[in-house]
């Protein structure tokens, strides 16, 4: 019974809460979507913590995502021992990087009085959950070896069964407690997600890579302004109007 609660009801609840409240918050209070950076108040320790944490966790999450999306390819890749070792080591390194990062961020948050001034209760909850999650992950990587292979044959079928709305617990029931904790803690993080600073990962500014440098926004449509403006002088017919071509807002002054 408690298996159903933890591995079926909890994930569906968590996923629903995460999706619904993330959208609700964005629409109701988009202002609150921010990196909430505290670098301005404390920069030196943040460098080690934040850089290690972000690169580590992005690497680790990408690894999990690849396993979830392409389980067969991963198994095929791991068919050659050297490749398995390389994948395992890479995964462990990302995990360790994330662990170093989150530990140093936690220490920083606890010791710097300026950072404490901008720490909310939810920040504490998030940091605790992340500490638990990353510690469990690294522990699993070290003591339950070849996870890149057994992950795709046990957890991935379970997760996919959830996704297909046909929950099947038989592959994860025999897993050790530590791994089960890792899974349940993930669901807790999902529940917390829309109510915490974690939402900043949804507003990563990738569009910056290809947008023009300068942004100009007009409060009115310039083409209509010409047509409606109550002024005597009118544009003579036949004169090419540069305004017409870019009357839309956000016309770039120059591009890269």
């Amino acid at each position: 019974m408690h298996n159903n609660l933890l591995y079926i009801i909890l994930p569906y609840t968590a996923f629903t809460v995460a999706v619904v409240f993330t959208i609700y918050r964005y629409r109701k209070d988009g202002f609150s979507y921010s990196s909430l950076s505290s670098q301005f108040l404390e920069s030196k320790e943040l460098f080690y913590g934040s850089v290690a944490w972000h690169f580590g966790v992005i690497g680790a999450l990408t690894g999990h995502a690849i396993g979830f999306l392409f389980p067969k390819s991963v198994l095929w890749f791991n068919g050659v021992p050297v490749r398995l070792y390389i994948l395992e080591t890479t995964g462990l390194l990302f995990g360790l990087l994330a662990l170093v990062g989150i530990v140093s961020l936690t220490v920083r948050r606890a010791t710097s009085s300026r950072v404490r001034a901008v720490t909310s209760k939810m920040d504490v909850v998030v940091v605790m959950l992340l500490l638990i999650q990353v510690s469990l992950g690294v522990y699993i990587a070290v003591f339950y070896r070849w996870g890149s292979s057994w992950f795709v044959t046990s957890a991935v079928p379970y997760l996919r069964s959830l996704w297909l709305l046909q929950p099947d617990l038989k592959m994860i029931e025999p897993l050790p407690l530590i791994i089960k904790l890792h899974i349940v803690n993930f669901y807790l993080l999902l529940i917390v997600f829309p109510f915490s600073r974690l939402v900043h990962m949804l507003v990563v500014p990738l569009q910056y890579l290809w947008r023009p440098y300068q942004i100009v926004i007009w409060n009115w449509n310039r083409r209509r302004a010409q047509a409606h403006a109550p002024q005597p002088a009118r544009q003579p017919a036949g004169v090419a109007s540069s305004a017409d071509e870019h009357a839309a807002e956000g016309r770039p002054v120059f591009t890269r």
């Binding site: 007009w218 209509r224 305004a243 807002e249 890269r256």
Partner: protein, 497 residues
């Protein structure tokens, strides 16, 4: 030709008395809030000095502004592709301590302290942590310390001087300083806009005011680094960046911005400038010492029929053009060539211009007496206490001629009026001087009037923004807005279920 209207500014430094009234007006209106305590959208610095944040002009340290790379400018912060990786930790972000830790005093202690042998005191406490702090810096910490070897000697502009010239600046009977009030320059080529990963910062098409959309800002803090003037600030409490908005709610209702309105020295001028946005890249494609002239070229004459036609085509109406004709900024910047941009070599094309201060110009003293015997009208300018090189480093990208011309013009006007009112100067010398500067007596009279006796409406010529027309144009129908919500509502005032 793509004619744009820009609300531009002139600060006449010869009239600034360094009273900080502008700063206080701005603080009271806009930044007296949690997270913004340390921000001074308007601040006044003493020059020579290091300013606020400390040594902001030193781009070796702060990496702000643009660099000309081949034919395109690019941000000094580095390549765009690599910069994206810096969002986890921006290596060039100024820290709180580069500004100062905002503080207040624990006034309750004056009332609540138990009776004792000592008088109770109100100790300073941090407005961030609430802990007791020792005040070690403030927004105008080096105020009036122009000769100080601790502060003034670290002014980055002094780097352009030789050892000997530096020594002269700090000689006791040459000691001199002047004030430099600073707000956001509302640049034509703003580095903050270009650096914002979220695309939250933009330039308003109608009047060129640069604004940060608070809803879109995600606190990546790149604008703080990119702005070479350090006029974009990170609000540590809301996690959003903020900057001077040129009091646009006041401008739109025809009022001068708070700092302009409150200026007791009446040093500030505000008016429209027309410029050709198509010429942006060409304007920047010149060496540092040619930038001021290049920027002046970009500014258009509102009386030119071709310009007027282009303006009307871009939605700048006839009444706005009329305001541009009366713009005091156009006169100081383009017509009289007396106002210069601050650090043009940062290449943002700032739209705030400064008339350089004439200062107490006499420099040479012998036996404790200043040498006032001047063979030539302009020899005091040559002997100015602050080396021309220093002024050129501030206002002209190193071009001393431009500063010299602006100062000579002020001096010529002064002497021209002295001939008029006191009559103890050589009329022929003044005539020669005016000719040398290519100016007429009538122009000198105009400069005198706008400098010394300008009325409120002559200092601030604000084109109507006609928001009501904009609304009509957007909706086709004004009735659609009737009964809508004004400021402060995010949604229409509809009764809930």
């Amino acid at each position: 030709m793509d004619v744009r209207l820009q609300m531009a500014m002139v600060f006449h430094l010869d009239k600034c008395i360094g009273c900080h009234t502008c700063s206080v007006a701005c603080k009271n209106v806009w930044t007296d809030r949690k997270g913004a305590e340390y921000m001074w959208w308007n601040n006044v610095e003493t020059k020579p000095g290091t300013g606020y944040p400390t040594a902001w002009e030193d781009q070796q340290k702060y990496h702000g502004g643009w660099e000309q790379k081949n034919s395109q400018p690019d941000l000094r912060m580095g390549r765009r592709e690599l910069r994206v990786l810096n969002i986890f930790h921006n290596p060039h972000l100024p820290k709180l301590d580069d500004y100062y830790e905002p503080w207040t005093y624990k006034y309750e202690d004056l009332f609540d302290s138990p009776e004792g042998a000592d008088q109770p005191t109100a100790r300073p406490i941090s407005m961030i942590t609430g802990n007791y702090v020792d005040i070690e810096a403030g927004p105008n910490w080096d105020d009036d310390l122009g000769g100080s070897p601790v502060y003034a000697a670290n002014d980055p502009n002094l780097d352009s001087l030789t050892e000997e010239e530096r020594a002269q600046v700090f000689e006791i009977d040459r000691l001199v300083f002047f004030y430099l009030p600073r707000i956001c320059n509302h640049c034509i080529n703003p580095a903050c806009v270009a650096a914002c990963p979220s695309g939250a910062i933009y330039k308003r098409g109608e009047d060129g005011i640069v604004l940060i959309n608070q809803e879109k800002c995600r606190g990546w803090r790149m604008c703080v680094t990119a702005c070479p003037y350090k006029k974009s600030y990170y609000n540590w409490s809301t996690g959003k960046s903020e900057k001077c908005i040129l009091c646009f709610p006041r401008l739109e209702t025809g009022q001068a911005p708070a700092c302009f309105h409150s200026c007791v020295g009446r040093i500030r001028y505000l008016g429209g400038l027309l410029y050709d946005a198509d010429r942006l890249l060409d304007t920047l494609h010149v060496p540092d010492d040619k930038l001021v002239e290049s920027q002046r070229e970009m500014i258009l004459d509102p009386r030119d029929p071709q310009v007027r036609e282009g303006a009307l085509r871009n939605g700048i109406d006839a009444r706005a053009l009329e305001a541009c004709e009366r713009s005091p900024v156009y006169r100081y910047v383009k017509q009289w060539k007396m106002a210069l941009p601050l650090h043009p070599e940062f290449r943002t094309l700032p739209m705030l211009f400064y008339v350089p201060p004439l200062l107490p110009v006499m420099a040479k003293s012998e036996d404790g007496l200043y040498d006032t015997a001047n063979a030539e009208l302009f020899s005091p300018i040559e002997k100015a206490r602050l080396p021309m090189k220093y002024m050129a480093s501030l206002f002209a990208g190193g071009n001393q001629e431009l500063v010299r011309y602006a100062l000579k013009k002020q001096y010529a006007v002064r002497m021209f009026k002295r001939l008029d009112t006191v009559g103890d100067v050589d009329a022929a010398a003044i005539k020669r001087g005016l000719e040398q500067l290519n100016m007429t007596g009538a122009e000198a009279e105009q400069i005198f009037r706008l400098t010394a006796l300008p009325l409120f409406d002559e200092r601030f010529v604000i084109p109507s923004s006609h928001r009501e027309q904009a609304l009509a144009m957007l909706n086709e129908d004004m009735w659609a807005e009737k009964g809508g919500a004004g400021f402060g509502f995010r949604a229409a005032p509809v009764r809930g279920a």
